[in-house]
C-alpha cells in the first residue's frame, strides 16, 4: 500500500540509541520512497538533540521541547506536527526491521485502533511486551503473555489479520493522527507506563481492535531510555501506581468490588508484614486519584 507514514520519536538526550534507531529507519524510508517523514521530539528540555540531528540527519524534522514533558506529552507534540495521517509512534530504543510499515499499514483497518509490530526484546522472544493479555489476579489487573507461538515475519495461522492484544506498545505502534489528537494518553499515568494500556482499553471498550502484526518486526532495548536515568524503585512505583489507577478507572461492578475487597486485605497484609513499598505505591495512586477522581 502506498501510504506515507510519519514516524514520531519522543526522545531524551539519547544520541547513541537514536543513532541505532535512525539508521535502519531512514534506510527503510528511503527504500519505500513514499515521502515518509521522521519527527524527533527533543524532550531533553535543553535542546540536546536539535543541533546534532540537524547536522547528522538533515532529513529528520526536530521538535524541541523547552521543558522535559515526559513521553506522553512529547508524543502528542510530535503527532501534532506530523504531516501524514498515519503515525508510527516509536521509542528511541526501538530498532525496526526492513519491511515493517507495509504490513502495519495494511493491518490498520478502519476498525483497528492501533497496531504494533512483533517486538523482540533485544532479539529475544518477547514476554508480555507485544502479545499481551489483560487479566485480573487476586482483584488486581496484570498483563501476561498470551503464550502464542509466533514466527517473526510470518502471518499467524490463527490470526491472519493480526493478533488481538490488550494494548499496542506505546513505543512501537501505528495509529491514526486524528484519533490520537482526539484522544491521546491520559496524563494521570505520568510519568510513564500503563498509559498505552489505558489508551487501548478505551478503544477496546468502544468495540475497536488493537492488534499485533507478526509480519512486522522490531527490536526493543527494554527501558533503554529510563533505566540509566531513573532508579528502579521509582520505575516500579510508577508501574504499580498506574496499575492501581488503571484498575480504579476501568474495573466495574463485581470486579471493582472484588478489587476493593482485595485492596483492603492487601493493606492489612502490608501493615502486618511491613510491606512499606506497596503501601507507598498505594498512597501514590490514592493521592493522585483522590485529587482527580476518575470518571469511569
Amino acid at each position: 500500500m502506498s501510504v506515507p507514514v510519519s514516524v514520531v520519536i519522543p526522545s531524551l538526550a539519547d544520541r547513541e540509541l537514536l543513532s541505532l534507531a535512525l539508521a535502519p529507519l531512514l534506510a527503510e524510508l528511503d527504500r519505500r520512497a513514499l515521502g515518509d517523514e521522521v519527527i524527533v521530539v527533543d524532550d531533553s528540555g535543553a535542546g540536546a538533540l536539535t543541533e546534532w540531528l540537524s547536522a547528522s540527519y538533515p532529513s529528520v524534522r526536530v521538535q524541541s521541547n523547552e521543558r522535559n514533558l515526559g513521553f506522553g506529552a512529547a508524543l502528542l507534540r510530535g503527532v501534532e506536527a506530523a504531516s501524514h495521517e498515519l503515525v508510527f509512534a516509536m521509542n528511541p530504543d526501538v530498532r525496526i526491521q526492513p519491511g515493517i510499515f507495509e504490513p502495519l499499514v495494511e493491518t490498520l483497518r478502519h476498525d483497528v485502533w492501533a497496531v504494533s509490530p512483533y517486538v523482540l526484546l533485544d532479539g529475544e522472544r518477547p514476554d508480555a511486551e507485544s502479545l499481551s493479555e489483560l487479566r485480573l489476579e487476586g482483584g488486581f489487573p496484570v498483563l501476561v503473555h498470551q503464550g502464542l507461538e509466533v514466527v517473526p515475519g510470518e502471518v499467524h495461522p490463527r490470526y491472519p489479520g493480526g493478533i488481538p492484544v490488550a494494548f499496542a506498545l506505546g513505543g512501537a505502534m501505528l495509529l491514526r493522527r486524528a484519533d490520537f489528537l482526539a484522544s491521546s494518553f491520559d496524563p494521570r499515568y505520568a510519568p510513564f507506563y500503563w498509559e498505552d494500556v489505558d489508551w487501548a482499553q478505551d478503544a477496546l471498550r468502544r468495540g475497536l481492535r488493537v492488534l499485533v502484526d507478526p509480519r512486522a518486526v522490531a527490536h526493543h532495548h527494554h527501558r533503554g531510555t529510563i533505566q540509566p536515568r531513573v532508579p528502579e524503585r521509582l520505575v516500579r512505583a510508577a508501574i504499580e501506581k498506574n496499575r492501581l489507577l488503571f484498575a480504579w478507572k476501568h474495573l466495574e461492578g463485581d470486579d471493582r468490588r472484588a478489587h476493593l475487597e482485595a485492596l483492603t486485605a492487601r493493606i492489612v497484609e502490608h501493615a502486618v508484614c511491613e510491606d512499606r513499598e506497596e503501601l507507598v505505591w498505594l498512597l501514590l495512586a490514592l493521592e493522585q486519584e483522590l485529587q482527580a477522581p476518575t470518571s469511569a
Binding site: 515526559g70 531513573v230 510508577a238 486485605a265 502486618v272 501514590l284 490514592l286
Partner: protein, 774 residues
C-alpha cells in the same frame, strides 16, 4: 523531625540516671514538635524473643524489644544475635531521621551500622566509660581503680567476679566493704593482682574483651556526632581510642518541679539532715556515709533511698544503717523526689568511682541543696567546693563526718553553700540544643536527596518528591493514610466502604493469611536462628578464645625465643659493636701513626730546609759584610770626591763669576764686531751694486742676445777698452776691497781665533766634560 532515642533500658523498668534523663528528653523533644520514638530492650519472657511491642506514651512512643535475659556475658554485651536485625526492622518501620544513642549496653554496637547503612544521622552521648570498658565504673571487684585501656586487668576482673559468684548468692560485682573473709580477700587479691593461675582462661578473656572493645569503639567512632557531658569523659574516651571529635555538652535535667522546692532552712533547730539518693551499690559509696554517721553518733540525720537488690552488700548496708541509726529506704518514684529533697539540708554523693555527671547533683541543685561529693576529676566539673558544696577524698568517712559536723554546728557555712547553688541546665534548653544539632546533621542528607531528585528528568521531579515524602513516613502512618484513602476511594467510586472482616475472610485475603502464618513461623524461626547463632557465636567465641589462648601461648613462646634471640642478637651486636669500636680505634691509631710519620718527614725536610737557609743566610751575611766594606770605601772615596767637587765647585763658581764678567765684555765686543760686520756687509753690497752698474753698460739690455762672435766682438772691444778702464778702476776697487777684506778678516780672527775663542772653548768643556762639541 523524627527522632529515635536508643538506650539499654527505660522507665518504668529501670530508673537510673540515663533512663530518667532519656525519658525527660523524649518528652522535651516531643514538646518541641519532634516525633520521638524510644527503642529499648526489656526482659520479657512471655513474649517471643526479639519481638517488638510499641507503647504510646502521650507525646512519644516506646518500642520494647523483648529479650529473654540480661546480657551477663561479654559475648552478649557485644552483639546479641538478632538485636541489630530487630533494630533494622524498627528503623525500616519508624523511619527516624536521627538516631540518638544514649547507651548501647544490652544492645551492641551493630545498631550504629544499621542506622548508618540507611543514611540516618547518628548521635552518641557518652554517659560513662562504657564505650571503652565493660567495667564502666572503672573499679575492680576489690574497688581498686581500673585503667580503661587495661584489657588484661578487665579480664582479671571477670575472673574475680567468678570468685564472687562462688562466694555469694547475689552480689553487685564487688566485694562488699567490710567483708571479713580474709581467704576470700586473698583469692581476689591473687586473681586481680598476683600471678595468674589460669593463663588460658585469662588469654581467652583478654581476646574476647579486646574484640568487644575494638568493635564498640569502631562503631561509635562512626557516629556522626559524639558528645560527652564532661571534659573528663571526653578526654578519657579520646585517650582510649574513640576516633571521633567529642563535643563536651552538659545534659539538661527535668528540673521544673524541683525549682519550686521549699528552700533550705539553715537555721532550723533540728539536726542537720543529710540525704543519699541513688543505687545502693558498692561503687556509689553509701557505706561511706553510714560510717560517717557512725562517727557522728546522731548529730546528723542520715537518710538513704534507692534501689538495692538482694545482694550481700544490700544486706550489710541495711544492718549497718540500723546499727548507726540511719534510715535506709528503698527505691522511690520521681514524684517523691521533691519531698525527699525538701526534707534534706545537704545531699551526699560519696561515689568511689569516677562518676561522670551524676543526675542527683543536678536534682539537688535544682532544689537548692548543696552537695557533699567525692573529690574526683569528673565531679570537680559538677561541684564547686566551698561555693555550692564540698569535695572530700573518696571513701574518707572521717572527712565526711567532719564536714557534716561542721555544717551541723555552723549553720552560717551551710547558708553560704546554699546561697552558692545555681539551677542546672533545664531539659528544654537541652532539647533546643539537640534540635539544632539534629537539624545540622540531617541537612546534608536532605540536600543529598534533593540533589538526587534534581538529577532526574524534569517531568519526574514531582513524582519523585511525592515518593520520597511517602517513603519517609513511618509504616503506621502509611497504613493509617492507606485505610483513610481507601474509604475516600470507595466513596469516590460510588462503592460501599470495604468491610474489613469480609475482606480478611475473602478469597483474596488468602495471601494475607498465608503470609501471616509464614510470619509467625518466620518469627519463631528467627528466634531459634538467633539462639542458634548465639550459641554458635558463643562456641565460636570459645574457639576464638582457645585459639587466641593458643596463639597467646605460642606468642609467649615466640616471645621467649624472640627474647632469647634478641638477647643473643644483642650480645652479637655488642660484640660487633666492640669489634667495630676497636677496628675504629685501630684505624684511628694507624691514621695517627701515618700522620705522625708524615709529620716527622715534614719536620726533617723542614729542618734541612732551615739548615740550607741558615748557610745561605750566612753566605749572604758575608757578602753583605764585604759589600759593606767596599761600600764604606766607596763612601770614603765619594766623600773625598764630594770634597774635591765641593772645592772644584767653589773654584768653578769663582771662575764662573770671572767668566760672567768676561762674557759681558765679550758680549759687548761681539756687539761691536757685529756692528762692524754689518757695516762691512753693507759696503760689500754697495760694491757689488757698483760692479753690476759697471757691467750693465757693457751688455745692456742685449746681454742675453750676444751669441755670435761678430755680435760680441764690438762689444768685446768696447768692453775691453772699458775693461781696461774698469780694470784700472777695478784694481783700485780691488785694492779697496782687499783692504775691506782684511778689515773683515781681522775682525773675524779676533772674533773666532785668539784668546776669546780659547776662553769660549774652555767654558764649553767645563759645561760638557765629555768633551763633545757644543
Amino acid at each position: 523531625m523524627r527522632v529515635a532515642l536508643v538506650l539499654h533500658a527505660f522507665p518504668p523498668v529501670s530508673r537510673t540516671g540515663v533512663e530518667t534523663y532519656s525519658e525527660a528528653l523524649a518528652r522535651a523533644l516531643a514538646g518541641q514538635g519532634h516525633e520521638v520514638h524510644v527503642f529499648a530492650p526489656r526482659r520479657e519472657e512471655r513474649q517471643a524473643y526479639l519481638s517488638q511491642t510499641t507503647e504510646e506514651r502521650g507525646s512519644y512512643r516506646v518500642t520494647w524489644l523483648a529479650l529473654d535475659r540480661d546480657p551477663d556475658s561479654p559475648e552478649l554485651r557485644r552483639a546479641r544475635p538478632g538485636v541489630a536485625a530487630a533494630f533494622a526492622r524498627f528503623l525500616e518501620r519508624e523511619r527516624p531521621e536521627v538516631v540518638h544513642f544514649q547507651h548501647l549496653i544490652k544492645l551492641g554496637p551493630g545498631l550504629v551500622d544499621e542506622a548508618r547503612e540507611r543514611g540516618i544521622a547518628t548521635v552518641f552521648t557518652a554517659h560513662d566509660a562504657f564505650a571503652v570498658s565493660n567495667d564502666y565504673t572503672l573499679l575492680a571487684p576489690d574497688l581498686s581503680p581500673l585503667a580503661p585501656g587495661d584489657v588484661e586487668a578487665a579480664a582479671r576482673c571477670e575472673q574475680a567476679r567468678g570468685i564472687l559468684d562462688e562466694a555469694f548468692t547475689a552480689h553487685d560485682g564487688f566485694l562488699p566493704p567490710g567483708s571479713g573473709d580474709e581467704a576470700l580477700r586473698a583469692r581476689l587479691e591473687q586473681v586481680l593482682h598476683g600471678a595468674c593461675a589460669d593463663e588460658t582462661d585469662l588469654a581467652r578473656r583478654v581476646a574476647s574483651l579486646r574484640l568487644e572493645r575494638d568493635e564498640r569503639l569502631s562503631a561509635l567512632s562512626r557516629c556522626d556526632r559524639v558528645e560527652a557531658p564532661t571534659a573528663w569523659l571526653a578526654e578519657l574516651l579520646r585517650a582510649n581510642g574513640l576516633r571521633k571529635r567529642i563535643a563536651r555538652r552538659p545534659c539538661g535535667h527535668d528540673i521544673g518541679a524541683l525549682c519550686d522546692a521549699a528552700p533550705v532552712e539553715a537555721g532550723h533547730a533540728g539536726p542537720l539532715r543529710a540525704l543519699f539518693l541513688g543505687g545502693l551499690y558498692e561503687h556509689k559509696g553509701a557505706h561511706v556515709l553510714l560510717e560517717a554517721a557512725a562517727e557522728l553518733g546522731g548529730e546528723v540525720e542520715v537518710l538513704l533511698r534507692g534501689c538495692t537488690g538482694s545482694s550481700e552488700y544490700g544486706r550489710r548496708l541495711a544492718r549497718r544503717a540500723a546499727e548507726v541509726g540511719a534510715e535506709l529506704g528503698g527505691p522511690f518514684e520521681r514524684a517523691e523526689l521533691r519531698g525527699l529533697l525538701e526534707a534534706a539540708d545537704v545531699v551526699v554523693v560519696p561515689s568511689l568511682w569516677p562518676e561522670n555527671a551524676p543526675f542527683v547533683i543536678r536534682e539537688a541543685f535544682a532544689a537548692g541543696r548543696p552537695v557533699i561529693a567525692s573529690d574526683s576529676a569528673p565531679l570537680r566539673e559538677s561541684v564547686r567546693s566551698g561555693t555550692d558544696g564540698v569535695l572530700l577524698p573518696p571513701g574518707d568517712s572521717q572527712a565526711l563526718a567532719a564536714c557534716l559536723r561542721e555544717l551541723a554546728s555552723d549553720r552560717g557555712a551551710l547558708a553560704r553553700l546554699v546561697s552558692g547553688v545555681r539551677a542546672p541546665k533545664g531539659i528544654e534548653l537541652d532539647a533546643r540544643e539537640l534540635t539544632a544539632t539534629y537539624a545540622e546533621l540531617v541537612a546534608p542528607q536532605r540536600e543529598q536527596r534533593a540533589r538526587a531528585t534534581a538529577r532526574l528528568p524534569e517531568h519526574l521531579h514531582g513524582f519523585a518528591a511525592a515518593y520520597e515524602a511517602l517513603d519517609a513516613l513511618p509504616t503506621q502512618e502509611l497504613v493509617r493514610r492507606a485505610l483513610a484513602g481507601l474509604e475516600d476511594l470507595a466513596s469516590a467510586l460510588g462503592e460501599a466502604r470495604p468491610d474489613l472482616a469480609s475482606a480478611l475472610t475473602s478469597a483474596s485475603a488468602q495471601r494475607l493469611r498465608e503470609r501471616v502464618s509464614d510470619l509467625s513461623r518466620a518469627a519463631d524461626w528467627r528466634a531459634e536462628v538467633s539462639r542458634d547463632r548465639e550459641r554458635a557465636l558463643h562456641a565460636l567465641e570459645e574457639r576464638v578464645a582457645q585459639l587466641s589462648a593458643a596463639a597467646e601461648s605460642e606468642a609467649q613462646r615466640a616471645s621467649w625465643h624472640g627474647g632469647l634471640l634478641e638477647e643473643r642478637e644483642a650480645r652479637l651486636a655488642w660484640t660487633e659493636e666492640q669489634l667495630t669500636e676497636r677496628s675504629a680505634v685501630a684505624a684511628e691509631l694507624s691514621r695517627a701513626v701515618e700522620h705522625l710519620t708524615r709529620e716527622r718527614d715534614w719536620l726533617a725536610s723542614e729542618e734541612e730546609a732551615r739548615r740550607r737557609e741558615l748557610a745561605w743566610t750566612a753566605e749572604c751575611l758575608e757578602d753583605r759584610r764585604a759589600h759593606l766594606v767596599e761600600a764604606e770605601k766607596a763612601l770614603d772615596a765619594a766623600l773625598a770626591e764630594r770634597e774635591a767637587l765641593r772645592v772644584g765647585l767653589e773654584r768653578r763658581e769663582t771662575e764662573l763669576d770671572t767668566q760672567a764678567a768676561a762674557h759681558g765684555e765679550l758680549a759687548r765686543a761681539y756687539e761691536e764686531l757685529r756692528s762692524s760686520h754689518e757695516a762691512a756687509q753693507q759696503h760689500e753690497a754697495w760694491l757689488r751694486g757698483e760692479l753690476r752698474r759697471v757691467l750693465r753698460p757693457l751688455v745692456g739690455s742685449n746681454a742675453g742676445r750676444l751669441e755670435t762672435p761678430e755680435e760680441i766682438a764690438p762689444f768685446v772691444a768696447r768692453a775691453l777698452e772699458e775693461l781696461q778702464q774698469l780694470g784700472r778702476e777695478l784694481s783700485w776697487r780691488a785694492e779697496e776691497m782687499e783692504a775691506a777684506s782684511r778689515d773683515v778678516r781681522g775682525v773675524g780672527e779676533r772674533l773666532f781665533h785668539g784668546p776669546l775663542l780659547r776662553r769660549v772653548d774652555s767654558w764649553r768643556r767645563a759645561v760638557d766634560p765629555s768633551g763633545g762639541e757644543s
